[in-house]
């Protein structure tokens, strides 16, 4: 699966022009990436869009600069807020850009960066424990062997005390991307970011 550890390959943000134009453009795009570091997830303000894997590319489109983002959940109400935040952050710096929403390949929690996961953990949200590919594979088992496949549950460590002795309170939590768990060691409830 496509899982950039920091940012998508430079090739996506560079046009095949002459060497000089190319380096100027890649510098300009690099500056855009830097500017967008300040744009955070509206519902989880400790991680930014790059760390979430939502920010996919900065490129020159036919109408000018384009910032490519990918939606998380189909109905995530934060998406339009993120679009506005990207446009506002760039316009404050005097950069005009449009936001392009790209569905494929579908966003996955596998695209979250390691630093993003650490920030989630420090914020009290347990990051996804296994890759979404593995989750999808176990879901395939569901189709063929209902009893076994559906019984699978993730072991999620408590972000407060680190104990593995936790239990799921609710499949769904405060936002589309989270489930609600409780630690049976320190008795604290916590959010779990579901593998997607």
């Amino acid at each position: 699966m496509d899982a950039p550890s920091s940012r998508p390959p430079a090739a996506q943000s560079v046009l095949p022009d002459g060497p000089l134009a190319q380096s100027q453009e890649s510098q300009a795009h690099h500056a855009i990436w830097e500017l967008l570091e300040s744009v955070t997830d509206p519902e989880i303000p400790v991680v930014n869009l790059r760390e979430m894997g939502i920010l996919r590319a900065v490129r020159q489109g036919p109408q000018g600069l384009e910032v490519v983002i990918t939606p998380t959940y189909s109905g995530c109400p934060a998406m339009s807020q993120m679009e506005d935040d990207v446009v506002n952050a760039l316009s404050r710096a005097g950069v005009a850009a449009s936001v392009v929403t790209q569905l494929a390949p579908a966003w996955s929690t596998d695209w979250m960066t390691a630093e993003g996961r650490e920030k989630l953990h420090a914020y009290g949200i347990a990051p996804p424990v296994k890759s979404a590919c593995a989750a999808a594979a176990s879901a395939q088992v569901v189709a063929f062997a209902p009893h076994k496949g559906l019984a699978v549950r993730d072991t999620v460590a408590c972000p407060q005390c680190g104990s593995d002795n936790t239990t799921e309170i609710s499949h769904f939590g405060s936002t589309a991307c989270k489930a609600l768990y409780r630690c049976l060691s320190c008795m604290e409830p916590f959010d779990y970011f579901k593998p997607y």
Partner: protein, 261 residues
Amino acid sequence: MASYQDYLLHLADNALILGQRNAEWCGHGPILEEDLALANNSLDLIGQARLLYQHVANVRRDGKSSEDLLAFFRDVPDFRNYTLLELPHRTAILPTASGDRDYAVTMARNFLYSALMVQVWGALAASTDAQLAAIASKSLKEVQYHLRHAHDWVLRMGDGTPESQRRMQAAVDYLMPFTQEFWTPSAMETAAVATGAGVDVAAFKAEWDAMVSDTLQSATLKPPANSGFVTSGKHGVHSEHLGFVLAEMQSLARAHPEAVW
């Protein structure tokens, strides 16, 4: 002549109507966690519907269609959802006047529909229509989770107290005949399968049957009859219930056409 847009509208309307139905639990859930669960489930379904309506509007290229027009300004005969998804959250005959919503019906329906859609979205991820394939890949992830949630409740209520079992049995007995509509092909589906953009739902019947019967058995429920009148919501011929769903869902948009917020 059946159009490919009808096929896309069928998928979109399924998601929108079930999303609207499940959202009726918002603020009325049996417990807080389930209130949240159904709101999240609806959010996913309505999100899927939006992507599909946007796709239809792009396919039409008539400059007039939009996701809002498709959702809020079409009438009952234009909707292509399965009749199953427009039914109220209750079995045909109410046990008491206060029982206007029964969570067993909600969970049984979500289970029966999600068990189908994990297969449909999984197969549509390889559709020759690249945009539909992209929407399917996202929707698959969401519906797998909906299936797990609903499956757990079918087990919990079926293999629960005498009262919860009675209600879940009544729910599956009531809903199962409506699933016959899944397997009866329509012209729009046949045409979409022929082009490679759609998938043949009937091909999933054996796996669907196996999952449903295994789950009902685990839940100590008796297999319900799957026979009788075959509904035809996907042909635009609906039950009396869809009109009420649309009246509630569309009234605001129709009272304030072209309002933005």
